[in-house]
Amino acid sequence: MTHLEDWSAWTGTWPFGLARTLSMRDLLAAMDRHGIARAYVSPLAAVLAEDPMVANAALAEAIPQGDRVRLTPVVNPTLHGWERDFDGIRQRRDVTAVRLLPTWHGWGPESPCAGDLLDRLAGMGCTPVVQLRMMDERSLPPFIRLPAVDAAAISSWVAASPEVTTAVCGAYAAELPAFAEATNAWLDLSFVESRDSRSTAREVLPNGRIVFGSLMPLLDAAVVLKKHGDLR
């Protein structure tokens, strides 16, 4: 993985914990510091907003020209008209990946909106990126009660669209085996940790299915990189 791509990069402000606000300039500096050649970037504000399109539009304005930072809009497929809004973004910027946050946006693989969503996104030329979690759920404030991540259900849903390569970010080490049979799923290691994180990942996934996701600015990218070691 000499050409390091970050599949879970974010800009903006996260209201919980210490994460500092990350501007586009900050992100580019962090990419230089950590040797990240390309980042698929989404707006943090889109996680908490029911309608993520306002945040997507703002990020579209901030993305520099070139191929180094790829706008990765957040889509909430429960919203009527999300495709129209998404088309509006695509007319302004080239989009090759789309981020989905089922637990934060109140839907799951069993929801009607999930149906052929992955195939439809792939048909638009976009790699779906399923963000399983943003932080340790135990540390969320009491007014936020997210449904538990159902890794097996997500894996089955991804596997049901075998032609669509789907990135899955934020799985715990204990959830990796659920994705072993979903051979079209790429997994990041942002939340994966065990007695020997690299070996744990290798036991479940071939190198070609392990991608880097920093979860900047919530997590320390240098620590996440350490999990990759010679997998890089």
Binding site: P141, F191, K226
Partner: protein, 255 residues
């Protein structure tokens, strides 16, 4: 010297093969010495006396076989009769090689049943490592909050307390112990939240932050990277990565 102040082995008796695997990973991560705290899975959150003895027996055997690579803390359950706990302290610390006490989640940290143990810790001049975490939910048994650790620390100002799990305690936990100079925090556990190590050092001073991994739940190298990658001076990093623990463990040459 790099010292990891927070590791475990599995319950079920001493297993040299598992220890060799641990040593191999320690070597890969450049860890010179690790502090064994308790056996995972041995009696659950409220261990019986025989579970406590079995956990400490593993530690004693570990220290007998590998005195240069490990240190050990004596695991206790304050819900037990104080006579048993004090006898176990005599066996493992006063007349044994262990250099501290480990308390987990059997009772809350501000429970008066801790007092006999804390008084004996002061007499023996050994630190007490106590689990702590701030959670919105998913509490496990009688899990302590950092504010309860602070209450304990004020009641026993002559005992050094290591509050475990910086990521779990978070910024609020750091502030809770800020005015308790006898409380340190370890970096073990939780996700590598950006900026948290620097926050703790800024609020507490580097001499009150110690590196720990929580291996095998966590990864030596990954947890070490949290300190290695933090924006710290070499002097601060040296204290966190082993300088302070060498002093607390009374290792030869430590200042």
């Amino acid at each position: 010297m790099i010292i990891d102040n927070h590791i475990h082995l599995n319950a079920g008796g001493y297993d040299e093969t598992a220890v060799q695997a641990c040593l191999s990973l320690m070597d890969q991560a450049g860890i010179d010495r690790a502090v064994y705290l308790m056996a995972l899975g041995g009696g659950g959150p409220d261990p019986a006396e025989e579970d406590i003895r079995a956990s400490n027996d593993i530690g004693l055997e570990l220290l007998r076989r590998h005195p240069d690579r490990f240190a050990g803390f004596c695991y206790l359950n304050p819900a037990h009769d104080a006579e048993f706990s004090l006898a176990e302290l005599d066996r493992c610390v006063a007349h044994g090689p262990m250099r501290g006490i480990k308390l987990w989640i059997a009772v809350h940290a501000d429970d008066p049943r801790l007092d006999p143990i804390m008084r004996r810790a002061a007499e023996l001049d050994v630190p007490v490592l106590h689990h702590a975490w701030y959670k919105a939910d998913q509490f496990v048994f009688n899990e302590s909050s950092p504010s309860e650790i602070a209450t304990l620390a004020r009641r026993h100002p002559d005992v050094t307390i290591i509050m475990a799990h910086l990521s779990g305690c978070g910024p609020r936990g750091v502030l809770d112990i800020r005015d308790c100079p006898n409380v340190l925090i370890d970096t073990s556990g939780g996700q590598p939240v950006a900026g948290l190590v620097e926050y703790a050092v800024d609020r507490l001073g580097a001499d009150r932050v110690v590196y720990g991994s929580d291996w095998p739940i966590r990864d030596f190298a990954v947890q070490r990277a949290r300190v290695d990658g933090a924006d710290l001076t070499p002097e601060e990093r040296a204290l966190i990565m082993g300088g302070t623990m060498a002093r607390l463990l009374k290792l030869e040459g430590a200042r």
